[in-house]
Subunit: 212 residues, 2 copies
């Protein structure tokens, strides 16, 4: 497949790009600082500022089969980047007929009643931005979406094993989040699903194949 | 009717409260600084912080017939107040069976393609917050909503005349916006409508009665 990665210079995106290339996909990765995108002969780098228009975004992503949204402003531009920037990429995907859209979200983004849990209260603005983006994706697009909601990202080594049964915020090594994002393309049963994840005991492909 | 005003200490709300009382309605007004709510024997003042829970909001508003949302953080807390604070009041209204919900919004909040017009570019974060709140009200509630979208608010004297045919941002005296909000209760044809307004030549009641 031809995958387009929005937020292509981020920590998760860097691993995701490698995983997608390893699985035989063609990747275009776009970021505000495109020089920071991982260097691989199979990867096309593009400049992308999420303050641009839906039309410009549509032009950039057309011809791809799947859009990954992994961009984030780290709290600095939540409304225009994390929330509405995401909405514009959804509208762009619909405009050029891309059906598959995979959103890297955050644990409990759609469950406000949990935002007072330890570790989440401090990032409430971020959770609200993700709430509105995820909510829009589910309710106001016809995209074949999957929303992946990891808990706290860590720089640890990946284990290749996860759990999708989450009760409270815990941690995920970044390589496992990236591998899970990449592997979603193998499992059409994940379309239309919101999937929470943390480190666990189940191999990623097995966990994804069992999503109902 | 029994009206509940969220953001009851604001400039528009102060006039709105007087207009509702003058029309014979009972008013409860709530604000973070409830002492700043206009003093009238017919008005009950309540303390309200929009960082509270849906359950607390539901408790506060139950027994009323209509909720007005006129709160705003003036750019200081857009995600938790203007955007998600509004969503919580909608959920609270649905929870306690209040059907009528009137949102004071902002011109073109639902038309992102106009956010680059002069006078709007500077308030894009605000427009995005209102976009998400308005959008949620329309698409994810079953409330009998009206969304009123004035242009720039001014401290001028009201004229009692408006136009609901807007092509670009202009101005509205605050008293006219407040009177329009109050008069919406007379016109059930405004339910399910997004109404833009600016100063104009049509008496408010006539303009509202002609909304289709």
């Amino acid at each position: 497949m031809k995958a387009f990665i929005i937020g292509g210079s981020g920590r998760v995106a860097s691993d995701l790009i490698k995983d997608l290339v390893a699985a035989g996909h063609t990747v275009t990765a776009a970021a505000r600082h495109e020089d920071n995108i991982v260097d691989l002969p199979e990867v096309t780098k593009k400049h992308l500022d999420l303050h641009t228009s839906v039309d410009d975004l549509a032009e950039l992503i057309k011809g791809h089969d799947v859009v990954y949204f992994t961009a984030g402003s780290r709290g600095k531009d939540l409304l225009q980047t994390d929330a509405f920037g995401a909405v514009k990429t959804m509208e762009a995907a619909e405009k050029v007929g891309i059906k598959r859209y995979i959103m890297l979200s955050s644990i409990f983004s759609l469950q406000p009643e949990k935002w007072n849990l330890p570790g989440l209260k401090e990032i409430m603005d971020y959770d609200i931005a993700k709430f509105f983006a995820d909510n829009y994706l589910i309710n106001q697009t016809k995209l074949d979406y999957t929303i992946l909601q990891p808990t706290v990202l860590t720089e640890e080594k990946g284990t290749g094993k996860i759990s999708v049964d989450i009760l409270k915020p815990s941690t995920n090594p970044i390589p496992d989040v990236a591998q899970t994002l990449a592997d979603l393309l193998k499992f059409d049963n994940t379309i239309g699903k919101v999937i929470m994840m943390e480190s666990g005991d189940t191999p990623i492909d097995q966990a994804l194949s069992e999503i109902k």
